[in-house]
Symmetry: C2
Subunit: 241 residues, 2 copies
DNA sequence: CGCGAACTTGATGTAACTCAAGGCGAGTGG
DNA sequence: CCACTCGCCTTGAGTTACATCAAGTTCGCG
């Protein structure tokens, strides 16, 4: 039983741009099916061409990369609404892998159809570029955090980001949201060791900032968290000549 | 005196995809002018909307981000052929700044025209998405390097990447290329201190891997460099059922 | 000649790493 | 139902790859 785009539970969320009737009809045709996967499933693999692209309907996952020495870099956490496989779509090859962490439901598209998307409905092509730009911005922030900040700030930043995204896609309830990852995943995302990550999480817990237990994240002091997590300033003061 | 797209010195490079006559004509119209800037010029500023987008014709620059605590993250080095301002173009706001490091010549486009690009010539919209995907892949690699690898490997990786790109855009000569940045820039790109960066560069010099003096990078032992710089494996072995 | 920008080098400090061990809950099998 | 394993989290002790501090050198420039 597949979901019609018209009935997509994500579309009404304020986080997403509105669809025109025409776009809706187009996406309905573009979508070739729906897919259910279990935790641990590899959806896309780094260095390979995938014939399929996905949009996450529900569930959570991970984008990650394995290096020659065997270490892993988690690129980002995958949430409902995320488009998976842009690189495969336009370049042919993926630079990272994508893996399901919970049960996931995904819309499936054909890689080969992506060109027709640009051609027949430029609005959708533009939307794809928009998504790519958002991803680029996120990766810039992640790079800055991993490169420049101490462990305490890194973890606060990651948790704050995650929580806000969770809220935006409607999986948060009050000041809590599901966080079905392992501490090792977070460590791999931020370039920290598991042990150190654990200690810093303990500190944030003791300080009453946040608690992460049983796959649930609870924000105890949002103001404080935001303050620690803050990455860059707004626009600089305007010059006067 | 502006360069016609037809005469663009970059276009023939093997690194770039071919243009159709139609695309060429379109880009000629899309381009609103040419711009010359001096070292130190801020082309785009994080957190602002820019009415102009650019493609680098010649010269070198930096994408970077300034954090609340004043530290800087260099996102990437800007080379001829790089498109600047995608984020401003499709999202409105830049997540990082772009600054000229040498004299630069740039093609100038109007932000407002970007939508017409998708609409009237989808091939060009697709090209833009392609660029964005390449950037995303690069940022993933950078994140993995900064997050997981020791200083020695980071620097080797950065230098190898830089040299290959330089070669691809035709600014390398033999085993040398211009590298008009400061050690501080490299340090800020890799999340290292200036002092440590300096020491590791010294080590690579002593070991006969590479030399960076007077704004010129010389690769002394490419095989060794590649070996240190290697980031990830190719595609994994294929499973058999 | 004095000054600032960039590079270099040595000494000292520390944030985060590794190693090692133990606890706890869930599953499994005798 | 208990013994065992396994995955995950937690904590302490010792180590190290970096950072920071502090000079000193070189070079171009006003």
């Amino acid at each position: 039983m597949t979901t019609k785009c018209e009935d997509c539970p994500l579309r009404p969320l304020s986080q997403f741009l509105r669809f025109s009737a025409e776009e809706l009809a187009f996406m309905e045709r573009f979508k070739t099916g729906e897919m259910q996967v279990q935790p641990g499933t590899h959806l896309l693999t780094q260095g390979t061409r995938s014939p399929q692209l996905f949009t996450t309907l529900s569930g959570l996952g991970l984008r990650h990369k394995t290096l020659v020495d065997g270490s892993r870099q988690v690129i980002s956490f995958v949430m409902p609404g995320d488009f998976l496989g842009l690189q495969a779509g336009v370049m042919g090859e993926m630079g990272h892998s994508v893996e399901a962490v919970t049960d996931m439901t995904l819309c499936v598209f054909n890689r080969a159809d992506i060109w027709s998307l640009f051609k027949t409905l430029p609005e959708r092509g533009y939307a794809l570029a928009h998504l790519a730009a958002i991803e680029e911005q996120f990766l810039g922030d992640a790079l800055a955090t991993v490169g420049q900040r101490p462990a305490y700030d890194k973890i606060a930043w990651a948790m704050a980001r995650y929580f806000h995204r969770a809220k935006a896609v409607g999986i948060a309830k009050g000041n809590t949201c599901p966080l079905p990852f392992r501490q090792q995943h977070l460590a791999d995302a931020l370039g920290l060791s598991l042990v150190h990550t654990n200690k810093v999480l303990g500190r944030l817990r003791k300080e009453g900032v946040l608690v992460w237990t049983d796959d649930v994240l609870t924000i105890r002091d949002m103001d404080r968290l935001e303050q620690i997590a803050a990455l860059d300033d707004g626009p600089p003061p305007r010059p006067l000549i």
